[in-house]
């Protein structure tokens, strides 16, 4: 486009068309008639007939997935529902509970914490982008070895930290086998992205002793189901909510400020020693 030049009255027609009105392709409530979502009457077509996860995918992507995909996705959510207060986002639930924040504040805060560069939905888009790009590269004849070699890394002597092929704290992932088993049970075949993910994992194991984690598995699986990277970030945005809720509930049911209390000496102060405050000039 040509950029606007000075001394011309600003053309605001783009915004004027949107002023005071909402145009939507999603749907919404028409009082006395129906509530629509992407071509479906929610009360007639979805309530009691579709699962919550089917409707979630519909709302996010505009397409109603088959039930088995929604069931697989629901199982994926269980995989990030550990009721373990050591997990970073879950501990925020516990800390909220101990200070009697509301459950909604607690879970919202914990979900925000999971918007991380290391784990959870925050890294999901990058994981998805990696496997989609890797598959495109493979189609252009680039080998999985080269795909790994080409991945940017901070320090050349360290293994590449490819999202989906490195898990903090643990090596290996107990969640992949049950998800593979479920996928098989539901009749899903291994697609091109997942096949490549397994090849990459094999090399990562041989060269760097790293394993694919749940993110690597699920992003490849979902890429085979034709999801886009941005869909995945959106679909997984509340991925960790259940584990946070568990940790919140336990802490909220205990006396206030009793969750994992710290004495002053439990913090290792490494800053400047005591000094007098200079007066303001």
């Amino acid at each position: 486009m040509s950029l606007p030049l000075k001394h011309k009255k600003t053309d605001t027609s783009f915004w004027d068309k949107r002023r005071g009105v909402i145009h939507t392709k999603n749907g919404g409530l028409v009082i006395g008639e129906a509530v629509y979502s992407h071509g479906y009457d929610m009360m007639e077509d979805l309530v009691g007939q579709a699962s919550y996860f089917q409707v979630m995918v519909l709302n996010v992507t505009g397409r109603l997935p088959e039930r088995r995909l929604a069931d697989w996705l629901e199982a994926l959510f269980i995989c990030l529902s550990y009721p373990d207060a050591r997990i970073w986002c879950n501990q925020i639930g516990s800390l909220s509970g101990t200070l009697r924040a509301t459950p909604v504040a607690a879970i919202s805060s914990g979900i925000l914490a999971s918007d991380s560069r290391m784990y959870g939905p925050g890294v999901a888009q990058r994981g998805m982008e990696f496997i989609i790009q890797a598959r495109l590269a493979q189609q252009e004849g680039i080998t999985p070895e080269k795909i790994i070699d080409n991945y940017p890394r901070r320090h050349s002597e360290q293994p590449p930290r490819i999202p989906g092929y490195f898990r903090p704290v643990a090596l290996g992932d107990e969640r992949i086998a049950p998800m593979e088993c479920l996928a098989n049970h539901l009749g899903f075949k291994i697609g091109d992205h997942l096949a490549l993910a397994y090849e990459i994992e094999k090399l990562m194991r041989e060269i760097y002793h790293e394993r694919m984690n749940l993110l690597g598995y699920c992003t490849a699986f979902l890429a085979d189901q034709n999801f886009h990277a941005c869909d995945i970030y959106r679909l997984l945005s509340i991925w960790v909510s259940s584990g946070i809720n568990a940790c919140y509930a336990e802490a909220a049911d205990q006396p206030p400020e009793s969750f994992f209390p710290l004495q002053c000496e439990d913090i290792d102060y490494q800053g400047k020693p005591r000094r007098p405050v200079p007066a303001r000039n």
Partner: protein, 275 residues
């Protein structure tokens, strides 16, 4: 379903036994080790700071480890005042107001608005990106940078930010940050960041673009020595009073004090409805 368990081992990774900080020291009470006898911020007793120094001084100290000189404190305070309120049309304020009028717990109004203000477009993430951009490009000619940025392809519609923190709003130059920048530029605490940003904004003026609040904050924080990550958060902090005030103004009001669009103003595309 029979699941073959995968072998999972704990990484051989040493975690700290204690959380470390260089910011804050809490001297325990002799009677109760959980209670604090004295708090020190980078070595200064917080109560002594409360009596001798301004809020801006201590804010600066908290993030930078040393008290500011008077010019730095004044520049920071001017920016904090100038950007105290994004205004009732700003999405962050509107989020707080929407929540308030729908009887949301008032304790959530501020975090709701601040979350909206966290984004890459006019939000905290744009401040951080803009500060990184400034750090990388202060040595380059802003006129050339502007020309290079303007040579790129842009979407046909919507706000354009060819350089993080700089661009247009609603097709034109955002006048408030421009006016604030002019004032800040005349202050003794202003440095290379604001000067570079002003030159860039002048070059962009021909294309109806210039300073955005995010770029202005980024340039000022750069001159004051804050890190890019601190800049993003401080931008949220300085906008917080306005977001909260606008929310609270509607907290006790009936829900019809704000628009709820009728069907003529909420237009559902035919394909979204059931045929």
């Amino acid at each position: 379903m029979v699941v073959q368990k995968q072998k999972v081992v704990k990484r051989d990774e040493a975690f700290a036994h204690q959380t470390k900080t260089k910011i804050w020291q809490e001297i325990p009470s002799e009677q109760n080790p959980y209670l604090t006898e004295q708090c020190r911020c980078h070595g200064y007793d917080i109560l002594e700071l409360a009596q001798k120094r301004s809020f801006m001084d201590v804010l600066f100290l908290l993030f930078q480890g040393e008290l500011p000189n008077p010019e730095q404190a004044e520049l920071l305070e001017m920016l904090f005042i100038a950007l105290i309120n994004p205004g009732p049309r700003h999405p962050a304020c509107r989020a707080s107001m929407n929540a308030a009028v729908s009887r949301t717990n008032t304790a959530h109004l501020l975090p709701i608005g601040l979350s909206v203000l966290s984004g890459t477009h006019l939000g905290a993430q744009e401040v951080t990106t803009s500060m990184r951009f400034l750090a990388e490009n202060l040595g380059h000619d802003p006129v050339v940078m502007a020309q290079e940025a303007l040579a790129s392809e842009y979407p046909d519609e919507g706000g354009l930010h060819p350089i993080p923190g700089f661009g247009n709003r609603f097709g034109g130059i955002d006048l408030q940050p421009l006016k604030i920048a002019t004032i800040l530029m005349g202050h003794a605490g202003a440095g290379a960041g604001l000067a570079w940003g002003s030159k860039l904004a002048e070059t962009l003026e021909l294309h109806q673009m210039g300073w955005l609040t995010t770029g202005l904050a980024a340039a000022t924080f750069t001159d004051l020595g804050f890190s890019p990550w601190a800049g993003g958060g401080l931008f949220q902090l300085m906008n917080a009073p306005g977001i909260l005030a606008h929310g609270l103004e509607l907290a006790d009001k009936p829900i019809n004090d704000m628009p709820f669009l009728d069907k003529d103003h909420y237009v559902i595309a035919p394909e979204a409805q059931k045929n």
